[in-house]
Amino acid sequence: MSNPVIIEIENLTKTFKNATEPAVNGISFSINRNEIFGLLGPNGAGKTTTISILCGLFPATGGKVLIDGKDLHTELASVKNMIGIVPQDIALYPTLTARENLAFYGSMYGLHGKDLNEKIETWLQKLSLIDASNRRVSTYSGGMKRRVNLIAGVLHNPAILFLDEPTVGVDVHSRNVIIQHLKEINAAGTTIIYTSHHMEEAQNFCTRVSIIDHGNILTEGTPAELISRNAGSTNLEHVFLNLTNRKLRD
């Protein structure tokens, strides 16, 4: 039987060049297979830095990360085959159509030929983009772009999916469609690591969350556990505000 833990993080540290304080300050946690794990925190808390390290975008200053038993530092190429990412910014080519964008990104994940075309077709259908699929992405609404951005990250059926604010700036309808399909992806076996400022969405979507601030983990547990642990809190937003001191962040 495979290890139930898919991501193990031990004492992870990241200090950027010329920075006086670490962006990630020796955090340790693990994520179980098939979880929807929420990494929540205010701006500058260290969420995106943590996800960027886990995706292999840049190396950590210290600590150890094992992804499905593979050392991220030494087996990065192998790890990259297992992951998908939906970045906060729309990472698409605006002058290409949705179909052309997906064909390119799918190819970069090793898909090709009939398999690639079928997957593109299926996902475009699922996310109601088939009619607009031959239009340039620059002509799309914010919600449509977000949906294509999502498909580009999941087309290759990754074992682990990183979502960095996947629903930011989209209307309620698009948000519901995105969340619904993310749940389907999770049900099909993909572990999801998710960051968001949207606490209500996180409360409903995540099976477990970790609240991070100033590069340190403040608390961790299921949304229900965190709410019950913080007296007077009725939802995750209250917990979040209490733990992060309600101060404005830049």
Partner: protein, 427 residues
């Protein structure tokens, strides 16, 4: 891996085809540059060699000297000689005014009695020589020929006209000298057919033959087309650095690079895809420019481009130039952090490298210091290579050193880009 490379190439081609402005910069700009620069330079060339430098000739002498000078100037391709201004015979005053107004670049005023004065002087010299007297000291006025110069006239034009003028005067002086000798000797030797004057008329002691030092089988005449087509094509090929660097920067600013760096595809493969496409664009640019030189320019009354003997040489040099240009674009795109920065960095550096490389002004007219610096410009390597092929009839062996230097430049640029990219990602 091949599928990934092909997908990258396809993506780059699509991006390029959708960028109409970028495409027009890549293809229309060099065509426009070649047409404009060749027409301008050809016109300047013609002003010396075909139509001639406009010269107004004022003849107050109306004797052998002025006739010989006028005939001499008319017989060369150097000048277009006129002795009237606005339909009226030219005078010293009207000539000065016409030159100052730019109607003529140069004016020549032969004073009254110039021929008589020369004859008088020569006669005195001959007498001195034959009689052993010191009459030269009694010699009177020297002849003063006035040359009016338009201040905008190039010094080279002026030098060309005055040196011709001196040559004609010297010839006339010699002729008068011979005639005077002849007259004096004929008094002693009755057979006029063998007098020195006639011998001078009949013989030409030194002749000149101009041969262009080229090994080409086809006669290649240096002209504005032979120089401008390769020069501006190279310039346009290096200008590819701007759209290429923009393409790299767009991926950074539009967020694609974030996803690209997290994918199981080496970044070098993605860059290689770009390089392949832009090298292809450079080759198409080159073919287009050759077609312009070969077929379009002759339609506009300009000479057709002559390609020389070595198609393989042209291909190797073009390929090496294309790699050098794309390598440069990759470096600019990697070093710059915004598209604005890339546009400025790219265009200024290309202008500088092209100026140093002899694209704007041939390197042989540069001062020695600049000529030495010029030898470090990749555009100069390419241009010198094309001169070897197009003007000197060279082959593969002749351009190989230039092609090797250009490929060396490409690898150096890729090395710099790799290090810069690595440094940027080590945050």
């Amino acid at each position: 891996m091949l599928n990934k490379l092909l997908a990258t190439v396809k993506k780059e081609i699509l991006l390029l085809l959708r960028d109409k402005v970028g495409l027009s910069v890549l293809f229309l700009m060099p065509v426009a540059l070649i047409l404009v620069m060749t027409l301008i330079q050809d016109s300047a060339f013609k002003s010396i060699n075909e139509k001639g430098i406009p010269v107004v000739f004022v003849d107050h002498d109306n004797d052998s000297l002025s006739h010989q000078i006028k005939q001499g100037l008319l017989s060369t391709d150097l000048c277009y000689v006129s002795d009237s201004i606005d339909g009226k015979p030219a005078s010293s005053e009207s000539a000065l005014k016409a030159v100052s107004e730019g109607k003529f670049l140069i004016g020549i005023v032969i004073p009254k009695g110039a021929t008589a004065s020369i004859r008088k002087n020569v006669s005195a010299m001959v007498s001195e020589t034959l009689n052993g007297t010191d009459s030269l000291q009694k010699q009177t006025d020297s002849v003063e020929i006035v040359i009016l110069i338009d201040p905008v006239a190039k010094k080279s034009f002026l030098n060309a006209v005055t040196s011709n003028l001196r040559e004609f005067i010297s010839e006339i002086k010699t002729k008068i000298m011979f005639q005077t000798f002849s007259e004096q000797i004929s008094e002693v030797i009755p057979d006029k057919q063998n007098t020195p004057g006639n011998a001078y008329q009949q013989s030409q002691i030194i002749r000149y033959k101009e041969i262009f030092a080229s090994t080409a089988t086809e006669q290649i005449v240096p002209n504005a087309v032979q120089h401008n087509v390769p020069a501006w094509t190279i310039f346009a090929m290096f200008f590819i650095a701007i759209p290429l660097s923009n393409s790299i920067l767009k991926e950074k600013t539009e967020g694609s690079v974030f996803r690209l760096h997290t994918m199981p595809t080496p970044y070098l493969l993605l860059i290689n895809g770009k390089i392949l496409v832009y090298v292809l664009v450079c080759l198409i640019q080159f073919l287009l420019m050759l077609a312009v030189g070969k077929f379009l320019l002759p339609q506009m009354g300009l000479p057709a481009l002559v390609l020389g003997n070595s198609m393989m040489g042209i291909f190797i040099l073009t390929l090496a130039t294309s790699f050098a240009a794309t390598g440069f674009g990759v470096t600019v795109g990697t070093l710059a952090t915004t598209d604005h920065q890339a546009a400025i960095m790219g265009s200024l550096s290309i202008l500088l490298l092209s100026a140093l490389g002899g694209i704007w002004v041939p390197s042989y007219v540069m001062p020695e210091v600049m000529r030495n610096i010029s030898a470090f410009s990749p555009l100069n390597w390419s241009l010198e290579g094309f001169y070897k092929l197009f003007l000197r009839g060279g082959g593969v062996a002749d351009i190989l050193p230039y092609a090797i230097k250009l490929m060396g430049f490409f690898f150096a640029m890729m090395g710099i880009s790799y290090l810069a990219n690595h440094k940027k990602r080590t945050v």
